[in-house]
């Protein structure tokens, strides 16, 4: 059994990596829901105060034919020019890589970015697509039978937990 790390500490580790290495003019795009919480925090707390976009990949998912539309769908909001932008996608847990694939596809319907990087709180392995993160808060090995879920309290405190899939 893995010990679940303390999400706030992992977040701080991720934030310091981004402060050290992210391009000064890069823009953040969080993937709903967990990625948006993280990207909102980062947009406020990173030294560069990057612009913030939010992406809901429901309309680009590859499991629509078998799973249908998610019951909750939110607006994608990209309040900056994507053409020529350096973008850092932010997600909570990187697993199969399918959400990231969907997010990249959706971003390209807004324009042609100069570059896209990927920042994730936790990389749990198990990739099914050739996707690799540029910034990782922590690497974890989690049993296939469980989901790793990020939640945010009303006060904005992040926590990680496992749930049966």
């Amino acid at each position: 059994m893995n010990l679940i790390p303390e999400a706030e500490a992992v977040y701080r580790a991720l934030r310091e990596q981004l402060n050290a290495a992210m391009a000064f003019d890069a823009k953040l795009v969080g993937i709903y829901s967990g990625g948006v919480w993280l990207a909102q925090r980062l947009a406020n707390e990173l030294n560069a105060k990057p612009a913030l976009g939010k992406i809901d990949v429901s309309f680009y998912r590859d499991d629509y034919k078998t799973a249908g539309l998610k019951s909750v769908t939110r607006r994608t909001e990209i309040p900056f020019e994507v053409d020529g932008a350096h973008i850092v996608l932010v997600d909570d847990v990187l697993y199969t890589g399918r959400s990231v694939r969907a997010a990249i596809n959706e971003l390209f319907d807004y324009g042609r970015p100069a570059s896209i990087q990927l920042a994730v709180l936790v990389d749990r392995g198990g990739r099914e697509l050739p996707v690799q993160p540029d910034y990782v808060g922590e690497n974890m090995i989690v049993a296939e039978s469980v989901s790793l879920v990020l939640s945010q309290s009303d006060a904005g405190v992040l926590s990680l937990a496992t749930e049966p899939r």
Binding site: G68, L69, D109
Partner: protein, 322 residues
């Protein structure tokens, strides 16, 4: 007695066909409106398309004329990346159930996944829905005097967009309610969404019998009925549906039931004015009001695309294991 199964829902309670707003649970109405909201932002991008319905075929099967509804369904299906076939089926009034089902069976054999059906006979979309294979979905685009659910839903989207919430609203529906499938779809949706006061304002000859049973307040005097309304929905005077002399003349109709700026001033100052189109300017609505600052008639059309995208995306995805 066993509860009668809602023919629009599958065994998991998901929306499989959209035939009427009557009897649809609030959660499904809200899901459609929320999903439409996400599609509105797709419509604001340079690339207005998403890949959701790639490989699916949508057949717009219109047995009755329509420009706006057909066009917005066409655009909605294309923005979802579906293949679209538009069929304006010119038929005599003698279209019988059997030939209708034969048409549908043939189109199903051509690989239809969604039928969008408009028909002059009430109940035609229900009949089709009962007879298609389980993977095929039916969306009612207006049947007789019965229902026009996507119009009712886009009106709900418009009201929510401008008024945020239904629970404190007074909505006045004015005009030819007798012939209006739009009014029926609006009333059912408003009631389910918790709108506390729905008013129907119509001449006696254009009032359906026992309309109060739908939970509305009935007025025959426009000045009285429009007082304090937050939303004013003007209905089209359906001349082509009128058999016999239900009304003296169009100008007399305007004098009693037309929306002028003077009449509109009796509603709340920030009231919005809606119309499902096509408008008869000078008959049910004054041009100055139709084009005025309180009119949201053109946003209704834009929102209509997003609402139809939402309905198609939800029904086509029903039955998955979420």
């Amino acid at each position: 007695m066993l509860a009668r199964k809602n023919p629009q829902l599958n065994d998991q309670g998901e929306l499989h066909h959209l035939l009427t707003t009557e009897g649809l649970p609030k959660a499904i109405l809200t899901q459609i409106l929320d999903t439409a909201d996400a599609f509105v932002s797709v419509g604001e991008r340079e690339v207005k398309k998403v890949p959701l319905l790639r490989g699916k075929s949508v057949f717009n099967l219109f047995f009755e004329n329509s420009t706006r509804t057909l066009t917005t369904f066409d655009i909605a299906a294309k923005r979802l990346s579906a293949d679209v076939v538009n069929l304006n089926v010119r038929t005599s009034s003698a279209t019988k159930g059997e030939s209708l089902l034969d048409t549908v069976a043939n189109l199903t054999a051509m690989g239809a996944d969604i039928f969008v059906v408009r028909h002059a006979e009430s109940g035609a979309p229900h009949l089709i829905a009962r007879n298609v294979p389980p993977h095929v979905h039916v969306i009612n685009a207006g049947d007789g005097r019965h229902a026009h659910p996507t119009q009712g839903l886009l009106d709900m989207y418009t009201i929510r967009h401008y008024k945020k919430d239904f629970t404190n609203l007074t909505v006045a529906i004015v005009g030819d309610v007798l012939h209006s499938r739009v009014a029926r779809s609006q009333i059912h949706a408003l009631t389910t969404l918790g709108c506390p006061e729905v008013r129907v304002i119509a001449p006696k000859t254009l009032t359906p019998t026992a309309v109060e049973r739908l939970g509305v307040r009935l007025f025959h005097d426009l000045r009285e009925g429009i007082k304090g309304a937050d939303v004013v929905v003007m209905l089209r005077l359906q001349n082509e549906r009128m058999n016999g002399a239900m009304l003296p003349s169009a100008s007399e109709y305007f004098a009693h039931y037309g929306l002028s700026s003077e009449i509109l001033s009796l509603a709340k100052p920030n009231a919005i004015v809606m119309h499902p189109g096509p408008m008869n300017r000078g008959v049910e609505i004054d041009s100055g009001v139709a084009d005025g600052t309180q009119s949201v008639i053109l946003p209704q059309v834009t929102f209509g695309i997003a609402v139809r995208m939402a309905v198609m995306a939800i029904v086509a995805g029903a039955g998955g294991s979420k």
